[in-house]
């Protein structure tokens, strides 16, 4: 049973068909990487799935329910968490308050007017921070954190609504190689523990080939390949869009 099924998704900006008839599905607990050269339509595809853009046509079935064209917050309520390419947290709040905010929203308490927010769900928030290794920074202002740590806090926020699907747009953008590996290893561990499915885009091939269960490849708005690491590595069309002809991923995967 697939968690998310995307059917013939299309989106054009003026005359440019950014995403064209893209279809794929994510299985329960799957770690699915979406790759492709710059301008392939990854971010557009992503923003359609998380609700920031409405598709021109196509369906997106989340556990059987069509979510195409819903607002981001509605999609979140259906159990889809996300992280941003440029990490975004609430800079005027402490780290733990950032996570509490998500938990408060998940509990439907946004419009509560009396009991202080800081006293709500603190334990649960600390537990989430523990899991991403940020417990010790809980009471620091989130704007003081190093970028890699912000990414971890974002992950804790994204896990707050116990999502069945996690969308991560370039989770390791702007990070060093060591940090990159640690973060993805952490994500992988958490999603395996919790049985969450993950769709992520990524530019760093070593991360993709080391961690993804399955890879889909976009080029010029179209889905050109779908398979496991070995299949993608040997796919002639994929090689062509990345390297022209003749080269391989052999060097990229050490």
């Amino acid at each position: 049973m697939s968690v998310l099924e995307v059917r013939s998704l299309s989106k054009a900006f003026g005359g440019v068909r950014a995403v064209s008839e893209v279809s794929f599905a994510i299985g329960q607990g799957q770690f699915l990487a979406m790759i492709g050269p710059n301008g392939a339509g990854k971010t557009t595809c992503f923003n359609i799935i998380n609700g920031q853009l409405a598709p021109d046509s196509g369906d997106m079935l989340l556990a059987g329910k069509n979510i195409a064209g819903l607002q981001p917050r509605a999609i979140w309520r259906l159990g889809v968490g996300r992280t941003f390419q440029v990490a975004a947290t609430f800079g005027s709040m402490t780290v733990v308050e950032n996570v509490q905010m998500a938990l408060i929203s998940h509990a439907g308490e946004i419009y509560r007017l009396w009991r202080p927010a800081a006293s709500r769900h603190r334990e649960a928030a600390l537990a989430l921070l523990e899991q991403v290794g940020m417990r010790q920074a809980a009471d620091r202002p989130s704007r003081e954190l190093a970028y890699g740590d912000v990414k971890r806090v974002e992950l804790a926020i994204a896990l707050a609504n116990e999502p069945r699907l996690l969308l991560m747009d370039e989770p390791t953008a702007g990070m060093g190689a060591g940090e990159r590996h640690d973060l993805i290893a952490l994500v992988k561990r958490l999603v395996v523990e919790r049985g969450i499915s993950v769709l992520f885009t990524e530019h760093s091939m070593d991360v993709v080939f080391a961690f993804a269960d399955r890879i889909i490849v976009l080029a010029r708005g179209r889905l050109i390949a779908d398979g496991d690491a070995a299949a993608i590595r040997d796919n002639a069309q994929v090689r062509e869009v990345y390297f022209g002809t003749g080269k391989t991923f052999a060097g990229a995967v050490s």
Partner: protein, 626 residues
């Protein structure tokens, strides 16, 4: 009205449109390049009329008039360049709000300077030499000077268009409008460019003002009227778009002209005098355009300005020291009626300060945690005040009920206006809230049957025992304490956190299920309702309410109070309102030129204490006690 009469009105509208265009296009150009909304642009326009009057009367003749107009444009351009070099250069990297306030300070200073130089009387200039007559159009007499105005607008539009399209200066202006950082990175001397653009914009405003000298008397109220009109034109046309400015000027001028042309219409159930609805009509056009096209008819979405906002500390509950301080202040205030037996004025000052505290705290609620910089908070003050006063005078409602109704009336207004306002952000939000406040003011001013027009509502005195100042003071104190604690409670509750979350990162907030617009809308409504309490208390404290007490100056006072105290601290608005209201009641009453004094205080605040008093104290406290 006949069809030809209608056409004639439309022609009249075109001549007004030229005037609107001159001021709006300068505003738009300056904003495009420097990203500063120059509220003082209306003042430059006003200066233009005064200076041209002096040329036309002192030198006289065709040289004094026509030469004077050209000289005025140049002179106002030079004044603009001076303003840019001396003041604006220091605040290009300051938060938007500070820029708006700094230019508003200029409005106050220029107004008092004009008063000092030319006196308070309206000054009507001579008629234009060579264009004194009229020509017959559609069977009516159209002054030839109006015809001249109709033609000169499009001529200047064309000239500007070719300058921007064909010259190096024009290319730089267009490039800077799209991405000024990139223009700087390419080695263009930004300082020169900014000064030149500011001088050009100022010169255009001065030119527009000078042209009015033969049509309308120079008047000290022109600055704010002109800038509100220009805001509407620029917002409707699209910030930074020159053709948009002309298009919008025509639309607005035509809507006004047609309203005047229609006059009184009898609908059977009652008659409506459309000529009194010009202000409302103008702002309705703007509201409609903003909803359909948030960036104006020919405008584009603004490039994100990479400004550096001051980082804000997380909210912490009050420390025991702060609580103790609050208790001491409260105890002192409770004792004030005893202390004041020797000087009753102290209690009146106390009431003024407490009302200012409620006003500023409610404004801070949306400005600080909500990030919505309202330039029209006076609207809700006015709705509360008039709501209470009219209920008492019209329906003989008791004071208690009127004070309950005040926040409800303000709430209704805030729900309506807030729904539009939260759809925008930054300077657009500032201008829209200002426009709404103008609507409330204009309605109150023009609806004489209900509100008493410019005389206002008088004789709104509290019944015994509240007619004693000491008792009324205690009532005000009680409501102020409740209001401040309530707003504070809301800010610590999930709702307040959600408001800050939406401000910090709307994208992230939406991604965790927060309906940011809705949360901000409700926050706006709460602030409006609390502000209505201040308005109601004010009406009973003064025994009257008039349009001038709810004019734009009150909105700006609120902004100054919040910034004076410090926008990032919860105690800021309380400190700021207390200091400001005390200053206003003591120092400013001593001088005729209080506007200039207030302007200088604002400039000092913006340039020297951007954190405000409470903010500076808090920073000092952190440094002393790590």
């Amino acid at each position: 009205m006949t069809f030809t009469g209608f056409l004639f009105q439309a022609l009249n509208g075109l001549s007004t449109a030229s005037g609107l265009f001159f001021i709006a296009v300068g505003l738009s150009l300056i904003f495009g390049v420097t990203r500063i909304v120059n509220i003082a642009h209306g003042s430059l326009y006003m200066l233009g009329t005064y200076i041209a009057y002096t040329f036309a009367t002192r030198i006289g003749g065709a040289l004094g008039f026509w030469g004077g107009i050209v000289a005025t444009a140049i002179l106002v351009g030079v004044i603009g360049a001076l303003i840019e070099v001396v003041l604006l250069r220091r605040i290009y990297r300051a938060p938007e709000l500070f820029q708006l306030l700094a230019t508003f300070a200029l409005v106050l200073i220029i107004n008092d300077a004009t008063l000092w130089l030319w006196g308070p009387e309206d000054l009507l200039g001579p008629r234009a030499p060579g264009l004194r007559g009229a020509i017959e159009v559609l069977g009516r007499q159209l002054p030839s000077y109006d015809l001249f105005l109709i033609v000169i607008g499009p001529l200047v539009l064309l000239a500007l268009h070719f300058t921007l399209a064909g010259t190096r200066f024009g290319r730089l202006v267009r490039a800077a409008t799209q991405d000024r950082e990139m223009v700087g990175a390419l080695g263009v001397n930004q300082a020169m460019l900014f000064t030149a653009v500011f001088a050009l914009g100022a010169g255009l405003a001065g030119f527009g003002g000078a042209l009015q000298v033969a049509r309308e008397p120079a008047n000290l109220a022109t600055d704010l009227t002109a800038i509100s009109d220009a805001f509407v034109v620029v917002v409707v046309g699209g910030m930074g778009s020159i053709s948009g400015a002309y298009l919008a000027a025509v639309i607005i001028a035509e809507v006004k002209a047609i309203c005047i042309g229609i006059g009184v219409v009898d609908f059977g159930f009652g008659s409506v005098n459309f000529s009194k609805l010009t202000l409302v009509a103008e702002f309705l056009v703007m509201a409609v355009v903003l909803i359909a096209r948030p960036y104006g008819l020919l405008g584009r979405a603004q490039a994100v300005v990479r400004s550096i906002a001051e980082p804000e500390e997380p909210l912490r509950p009050a420390t025991p020291a702060l609580k103790a301080l609050g208790a001491v202040v409260l105890a002192l205030l409770l004792c004030l009626p005893l202390l004041a037996q020797s000087s009753p004025y102290l209690l009146i000052l106390g009431i003024d300060v407490l009302i200012a505290v409620i006003f500023a705290a409610s404004l801070h609620f949306i400005m600080g945690p909500g990030g919505m910089h309202s330039f029209g908070h006076a609207a809700y003050f006015g709705l509360g005040a008039y709501g209470a006063a009219l209920l008492v005078k019209g329906l003989a409602v008791p004071m208690g009920l009127a004070l309950v109704a005040a926040p409800l009336v303000a709430l209704a207004g805030a729900l309506l206006f807030g729904w539009f306002a939260v759809r925008l952000s930054g300077v657009y939000l500032a201008m829209l809230t200002l426009a709404f406040a103008q609507i409330v003011w204009a309605t109150v001013f023009q609806w004489e049957e209900l509100t008493g027009g410019s005389n206002g509502v008088i004789g709104v005195w509290p019944p015994p025992p509240f007619d004693r100042t000491s008792v009324y003071f205690l009532l005000t104190l009680a409501l102020a304490v409740i209001a401040v604690l309530l707003l504070r409670r809301l800010l610590f509750a999930p709702f307040g956190y959600a408001m800050r979350a939406g401000r910090d990162s709307a994208l992230r907030a939406e991604a965790i299920g927060i309906d940011v617009k809705r949360v901000h809308w409700l926050g706006f409504a709460v602030a409006g309702a609390v502000c209505g309490v201040a308005g109601g208390l004010f009406a009973f404290a003064k025994g009257s309410i008039s349009p001038e007490t709810i004019h734009i100056n009150r909105s700006i006072d609120g902004l100054v109070m919040v910034l004076l105290g410090g926008i990032q601290t919860l105690s800021g608005p309380i400190v700021g309102a207390s200091v400001f209201a005390t200053l206003q009641d003591t120092v400013m009453r001593q001088t005729e030129y209080w506007r200039a004094l207030l302007g200088l205080i604002i400039l000092l605040l913006v340039l020297a204490f951007p954190q405000g008093i409470a903010g500076a104290l808090a920073a000092l406290w952190r440094r002393v006690k790590p």
